[in-house]
Amino acid sequence: MGGRSSLVLSLLPLLIPFAAVIGGGLVVTVLQSFGLVMYSYTYEDMLFAYRHLFSDTWFLESAAFSLYVALAATLAAITLGTFFSYLIWKLPPRYHRWTVIYKIPLILPHIAVGFIAVILLSKTGMLSSVAYHLGLTDGFEEFPNLLYTRAGIDLIAAYVYKETPFVMVMVYAVLSRFDRRLVDTAEMLGASQLRIFFSLLLPFLMPVINTTFIILFIFAFGGFDLPFVVGSSNPGMISIRIYEYFFQKELALRPVAMAMLTLVFCFSLLFIVFYLRLAQRVEKGVRKL
């Protein structure tokens, strides 16, 4: 059978491209953020890019805006998605296949979802027309500004639309393995529906909710496609700032883009570690069944 060496050999098809492209790519990103391997440019100050970032407030504002959008969208998507999959789970099985329409946003690309947000939310868009016919507004001037603002409603709504089905798929997969007899027992012992959801089902779902939260939060935090179509340009998501420094400014300023990427990467790693720690601590405090 060849033993251990052949087993390690079988990892190579993945390890080689992983090390070369992802490892190599990250190394280049970090090096260039310090002004190294920057084509023919040389920098006297290795921390020039980082000093540039923190010499003004725009970077911190963009970071705060990204954090806010990602947090709001992910929390909303998790809540909505968990709730919907619970409702579907409670339906008699013969109805389940009709609910697949919730998967539509999964096949829509982010840029398509951004476009949908524009035609639905603009001042003369679909929601505004509906509001007019319901008598809520007397004209599009009265409809609130939802696009390209600091409140980030367009981005949050678009991410919630795109991410909720993902939450539903993940949560439903776990929920479908839940033993329904436990619910029956709880009902017989007189537990209310709310109590069953929060004390019985939710602890069971917490691991998958935590995983989903990490995936979606980091995705929304560092995603580029959607903010490129909608969202405010001031402060603007951090990915848009990275794009500007990478493509639109002079090549000599590219280390600034790389410094932002390095910080985003470090933040993502720290976030994963801290979130998992926190989740573990909370789990320990909960009594197991």
């Binding site: 035609i119 980091i218 990467f265 994963i272």
Partner: protein, 262 residues
């Protein structure tokens, strides 16, 4: 029944109704505030489609080609490692598996922009191969997860049996494990295809405009004032993935029937 009706209505309004709006927009270029449905229908967006048919088809085919290539590439990259991870415990397994699943967690920009520099030096920036490579490295964790689950589900009895009868490792993989793994390959492949087909930024960055992509083709139109054309082309985004799912579904069904597994 009433509860089902309500839930279905809610799911429809939230998740499906935007597509209805897109369909209506693509049927009318004169739809404006405050009409709830367009008063006048016209075929202008379809005329655009006919006029630019060549470009649209080329970009769609190119997107399908690099997405399918990414599916093949991720399969080749992950099938042996998946068998390895499903095979048993060893020191550092969780750590290694976590590390290899990480590309799905970190923002792809972080490594892609550095990788672009490397690709330039290797001469694969602005090429089809470069696009396939970057998309594969961004999306392989989904394939890896699906295949590990698939290997765990099939157990090791069949392969052990074949090995006892003297089959080589390669034969076991090709004739026993792969056919049994087909559902897992399809599950992972669909996600990889979707991720690659939907991606705008990575193709734009590594392809640099010389690899046509459908996302790149429609992007300027999404920001134009012509909502009608943009709506029709956005709806067109759904066609290749759905065709791909149906085709795969039929293919697997036939294959299983021929092998007497259904």
């Amino acid at each position: 029944m009433i509860r089902f009706g309500l839930l279905f209505f809610l799911l429809f309004v939230i998740f499906a109704s935007p597509l209805v709006v897109l369909a209506l927009y693509s049927l009318s270029s004169s739809w404006s505030y405050p009409q709830i449905i367009p008063v006048q229908l016209d075929w202008r967006s379809f005329a655009y489609l006919a006029d630019h048919f060549g470009n649209i088809v080329v970009s769609l085919l190119s997107s399908c080609a690099y997405s399918l290539a990414a599916v093949m590439m991720t399969l080749l990259m992950t099938i042996l490692p998946a068998r390895f991870f499903a095979g048993g415990d060893f020191a550092g397994k969780t750590l290694l598996e976590g590390l290899l699943l990480a590309p799905a967690l970190i923002p792809p920009m972080a490594f892609a922009m550095g990788a672009h520099f490397l690709f330039l030096h290797l001469g694969i920036a602005d090429t089809f191969a470069g696009v396939v490579l970057i998309l594969s490295l961004y999306s392989y964790p989904y394939m890896l997860r699906a295949l590990v689950a698939g290997f765990l589900a099939q157990g090791r009895d069949y392969s052990l049996c074949a090995r006892n009868m003297g089959a080589s490792s390669f034969r076991i993989l090709l004739l026993i494990e792969m056919p049994l793994l087909l559902p897992a390959i399809v599950a992972g492949g669909i996600i990889v295809f979707l991720v690659a087909f939907s991606e705008y930024f990575l193709v734009f960055l590594i392809g640099g405009g010389s690899v046509p992509s459908y996302a790149g083709y429609i992007f300027p139109l999404l920001n134009s004032s012509d909502k009608s054309v943009a709506s029709l082309l956005t709806l067109l985004f759904l066609v290749p993935p759905i065709l791909f799912f149906v085709l795969i579904d039929r293919l697997i069904y036939r294959l299983y029937r021929r092998r007497g597994l259904l």
